[in-house]
């Protein structure tokens, strides 16, 4: 096992710069998820760690060894690809044994390892089948089996679940996390699915346009987003963002927009007249029939759509011309067109600079 340290990493394709001076430390045994929209450079970064993509400048270190010029085959990593990339002409057993056969490991050890991996992944009945005779989930497991038999220093996953159906994805998610808890191998996992990132990661690294926007534990990036992009990217349904202006009424600061008077946190670093973006997650947008707000705060809107999901109800409403969503665990029956009052929880309000998007 090894830690992975990335410093001042750059990648250019001709004149196009896709990664900008990235710094990232992945401690030994951690499960780190690189998260971002497509084209943000997360896969490129992963492939540079794997040695499949050249490094324009900067360093990749495994523990203290610089691996920039080490060939992929000598890095002792294992990688699971989005499309599995199985060896179609080889049985499941041979797929998993391939790396050991290349290293001329003796047959007994190979058999033991393959049996061990197959038992972990539930592949025993399929060992002599060809990949084309397996379902998507089983193929995915073979790809993982091929990775774990090698005792790699680092596991790399490149969107491994995006080709599976929703149910299988949830199941495999748990399996991968369980596998990591069992093997404790340093893992770097790329995905664009924030639920995967939130559920699996020890640390989430959120990327955009070749920059790291924020890195931290899942709850940290959820509760304390550094900027507007992270706030909106994490969470589903996304955070409500309302363009506001600060106003004072009876000595209290409010974020206002038209007839809205949204409460601000007690120590908010704002001044009268300041334009800002007011962010509040749907679960902190407590809905009620009557204005439950204290003082002069007023936040009302008109119900557009109500989506009961089972455990909770999602209410979409229009508030001062902006779409907002609130989540309630109470089974309240809202009707479209009805007036709805909200009470944003001031402990969970996020304020962002209107120009830069940085958190205030």
């Amino acid at each position: 096992m090894a830690s992975v340290n990335i410093s001042q990493l750059n990648k250019k394709y001709g004149a196009v710069r896709v990664l900008h001076d990235l710094d990232l430390q992945v401690a030994d045994g951690r499960f780190v998820v690189l998260l971002g929209p497509s084209g943000c450079g997360k896969s490129t970064l992963l492939r540079m760690i794997a040695g499949l993509e050249s490094i324009t400048s900067g360093d990749v270190l495994f523990d203290d060894t610089r691996v920039n010029d080490v060939h992929a085959k000598d890095r002792n990593i294992a990688m699971v690809f989005q499309n599995y990339a199985l060896y179609a002409h080889m049985s499941v057993r041979k797929n998993m044994a391939f790396s050991m056969r290349l290293k001329r490991v003796d047959k007994k050890t190979i058999d033991e390892k393959v049996t061990w991996a197959a038992s972990i992944l539930g592949l025993e009945p399929y060992l002599d089948r060809l990949p084309r005779e397996l379902s998507g989930g089983q193929r995915q497991r073979v790809a993982m089996g091929r990775a774990i038999v090698r005792d790699p220093d680092v596991f790399l996953f490149d969107e491994p679940l995006s080709n599976l159906d929703a149910k299988l994805r949830v199941q495999m998610r748990t399996e991968i996390k369980e596998l990591h808890q069992r093997l404790k191998t340093t893992t770097i996992y790329v995905t664009h699915d924030q639920i995967e990132a939130m559920t699996m990661a020890d640390d989430v690294v959120i990327m955009r346009d070749g920059y790291i926007e924020q890195a931290g534990s899942p709850m940290e990036v959820y509760d304390k987003p550094n900027n507007l992009f992270v706030a909106q990217f994490i969470g589903s349904p996304g955070m409500n963002i309302i363009e506001c202006q600060v106003a004072v009424k009876n000595g209290v600061y409010y974020a206002t927009r038209d007839e809205l008077f949204l409460p601000l946190p007690a120590q908010a670093p704002v001044e009268d007249g300041q334009a800002l973006l007011y962010g509040v997650r749907p679960e902190h947008m407590v809905p009620g029939v009557q204005s439950a707000g204290s003082g002069d705060s007023r936040a009302s809107g008109v119900v557009r759509v109500v989506e009961p999901t089972g455990p909770e109800v999602h209410v979409y409403a229009k508030m001062a011309g902006q779409d907002v969503c609130a989540i309630s665990r109470e089974r309240l029956a809202w009707e479209p067109g009805e007036t709805i009052y909200f009470q944003p929880d001031t402990n969970h309000v996020h304020l962002f600079n209107k120009e830069t998007g940085a958190a205030l």
Binding site: K73, N83, Y84, A85, Y87, A88, S99, L102, R150
Partner: protein, 296 residues
């Protein structure tokens, strides 16, 4: 009958018709090869099946038998140029040597080149492909004269090696193009997975990607073999004593007439190796061998 079964019937009839159109010349050719001369050259009517089959044409052309007295006795034998003139055995041997060797060479060279062109990015790789294809733009007749001189000066004229090289060179561009498209169908992640598993570039090629495109290799080999087996012009100009089957057959057309019996016998016999070869590889001629490698 429902409309769909009418459609099916029509489709079958049409298919049979097409097959007949293609089969008829070959069947007629094969039939001619077992006809006695009297049946071939009947001036009064077309003899289809009412003749006494004879294998003499094969005896002479394929097994090196002597021209029998009966043929000569019919007084219809054409001007013969000696007893050995119709013996096709050495031609069959030459054709086999040349076709098999040039097929192996062309396929092997194209495989390595196609893999490189499919997987490696280098300056001008795109232009390189076009340049290779451009080698086929000229019809062989346009290059035959310089080729004859070059081969003569290199001492390759009238040697098996010479024709093997010529056929290999003609086959490479096409084989390369076909094989490259098969390699392109195998996702590059498969190579990368193998490399991460510890394979060298050559091991990627040999142990992983090549077995996945067996079908494509077989198809390419068939095409190369058929080209070389039936090629006429280069063989005619580049040899004088070595005669491949197509060239040999033309010598049966003599100044005093054509030996249709021998022509059809050697011609029919020449179909057989190609046919056997295709039968051998036809199991590999199915696509979809790469199925299962990736999520479709």
């Amino acid at each position: 009958m429902s409309s769909s079964s009418v459609k099916t019937t029509l489709r079958y009839l049409f298919s049979i018709l097409i097959v007949c159109v293609f089969i008829f010349p070959i069947a007629w050719f094969a039939l001619t090869s077992i006809k006695p001369i009297s049946a071939v050259f009947n001036k009064d009517r077309v003899v289809v099946f009412d003749f006494e089959p004879t294998f003499e044409n094969y005896q002479v052309t394929v097994f090196g038998g002597k021209r029998s007295d009966t043929a000569a006795g019919q007084n219809m034998g054409m001007g013969t140029s000696g007893t050995g003139a119709y013996d096709g055995r050495s031609s069959i041997a030459s054709s086999l040597i040349i076709a098999i060797s040039s097929t192996i060479l062309a396929t092997a060279i194209s495989l390595l080149a196609a893999y490189a062109l499919s997987r490696l990015r280098f300056r001008g790789s795109q232009g390189f492909m076009h340049w290779i294809l451009s080698q086929r733009f000229l019809p062989p007749i346009a290059i035959i004269i310089p080729l004859v001189f070059i081969f003569r000066d290199l001492g390759l004229r009238d040697t098996h090696l010479g024709i093997i090289i010529a056929h290999t060179l003609i086959n490479i561009p096409l084989a390369l193009l076909i094989l490259k498209s098969f390699f392109d169908d195998v996702p590059i992640e498969v190579d990368q997975a193998a490399m991460i598993d510890g394979a060298t570039r050559f091991q990627c090629f040999y142990l992983v990607v090549l077995p996945m495109i067996k079908g494509g290799v077989a198809a390419t080999a068939v095409l190369c073999f058929i080209f070389s087996w039936t090629e006429f012009l280069l063989s005619l100009f580049l040899t004088s004593s070595i005669r491949t089957i197509p060239v040999k057959i033309t010598t049966f057309v003599t100044s005093t007439g054509s030996e249709w019996g021998y022509i059809s016998a050697l011609g029919t016999a020449a179909i057989i190796p190609g046919f056997i070869f295709i039968l051998l590889v036809q199991n590999h001629l199915v696509r979809g061998l790469t199925m299962g490698a990736v999520k479709e």
